[in-house]
Amino acid sequence: MVRAGGLARYIAIRALMVVPTVLILYTMVFLILRVIPGDPITAIVGTKSLPPEQLEALREAAGLNKPYIVQYFEYLWNVLHGDFGESLVIRGRPIAADLIDRFPATLELSISSFIVSVLIGLVTGTLAASRRGGKVDASMRIYSVVAYTLFIPWFGMMLQILFGVQLKVLPISGRLDPGLTIERITGLYLIDSLITGNIEGFKNALAHLVLPTITLGTVLSGAYTRLLRNNLIDVLSQDFIRAYHARGVRGYKVMLHAIKNAFIPVVTLMGLQFAILLGGAILTETTFSWPGMGTYLLDRIEYRDYTAIQGTVIFFALLVGLISLVVDIVYALLDPRIRY
């Protein structure tokens, strides 16, 4: 039933449904970080022996001296206000500042990889559907499994050896050559360099983005290949496609119409894939020394920076909730049948 305000109502209900998801994830992260045996402060200090007063001070800085239930709500309250606590290692450094600093790098990598994976999926899926049942179709099916099982660090290193070490055409680590700077506006180098007219910076940032993007994009593309192939086969068997053929519309134009219709569910898959994308981004970032959230998390783990680890993981949880909401909204906008 479609009625006025249907979309607004849908968005409101969806937004409310994100709340329990985020709460569950928050609780889970909280439990993992608190209940797992071993005191984080002792772990940070390691083999050093500190006087009890200093241990107590550290515990207080991490908010660990209060009862669990108080910690739980206090931290939740702070996080909802954008306060992720302070680093235990670099004292006084707010973790939120670090996250804001690192997030755009991960976002840039994620967006470009997403675009590449959908493009690969589009080409391979269309090929498979239009040669349905043939050798091409069979190879695309094998491709979709192999792409999924590509081990990101290995695939990335093979690209590094080929394009970075042998052919020497592309940089293999970082976001930008040392010595170059891009004025920070959004933190997305490609966009910032264009806004400020920094063409050299743009070219350099783009070159740095190529290999990580191909790595992550290829790994994610397999699922799109399958989804588009199966959707296209469904769509191609529908009446309106036959009507196009009957009216003498050229084959490739019919295909374009079919692709447009087969594309809507891709938005939902994008939401499902987001978790895999984030996990893959951590491996990709580590392989290519990409200064994003993944390398930040691992760096903090190395320093046993307890509050920073907690903040980063909670931030990931918020991100997952937010993305699932955005995906649902986009889906509703694309498909007017989806309403409450």
Binding site: I24, L25, D137, V145, F151, P153, A223, F316
Partner: protein, 289 residues
Amino acid sequence: MVRLEIVKKIYEPLIGIFGVRVGRGMLITGMLIVLAVVIMAVFAPLIAPYNPTISAGKPFQPPTKEHLFGTNRLGQDMFSRIVYGSRIILLVVISATLISMSVGIPLGLISGYVGGKLDRAFSMVMDSIYAFPSLVLAIAIAAMLGPNITNTALAISIVYIPTYFRMIRGQTLSLKEQLFVEAARALGARDREIMFRYILPNLAPTIVVVFSLSVADAILTEAGLSFLGLSVVPPTPDWGYDLRVGQPFLLNGYWWLVFFPGLMVMLLAMGFAFIGEGLGERFALGGER
């Protein structure tokens, strides 16, 4: 739910198109790969020419007859490390998966069968964990527990519980409406009997397929954790870890340090994924991962 439909669509079995042939090829290829790795793991001391944890010659030798896959920074034989490495990855992944199964399957069965509020609560928690990036979750758990293989197995097992829960719950929902369940109830079978003696055996094909696919995934997660330095400690031979220590030498052109360990990770994951794919088609059901 729209999402479930889409997941089904992706892994829709392709029987009757060309599928049977391709699926069978995948199944056989996958089984051969997995069998080869299992043999390698079981007979590692007979296959490996050197001790994987001590120096067997000069460092950084490229592949030769004496050292099939070359030697690393410490002069350890890479081929022997890879042979022994298969033990670690199989041990961690299989034991982790067995733990996830023994928690996820009963929970999914009970949740789907009992229904109501209990089901809604379980599903909400499991769906939330499922939506969270499994690698981030595994990293957080492994980082808190500290690097050793028991903890890695534990971290991986927690991550894959929702996979089993969701699949089993979904199947139970449709199975419990079927006539044989009603017949069992009419015969006076108790709920527990119906769940574990009537419904569970019917879930076997699903479990086998989900097992293969989740093992494939867990292999990538285990290797990922050790690549990030969160799993084994040196000098344990481990594929992901060898990839990590080999990477700094890429610029020197020592490709064999990373090429072989990473290739093995991918082959083993691919083997299990092919088996899952092939079996899924055979049983005419969609595997979800």
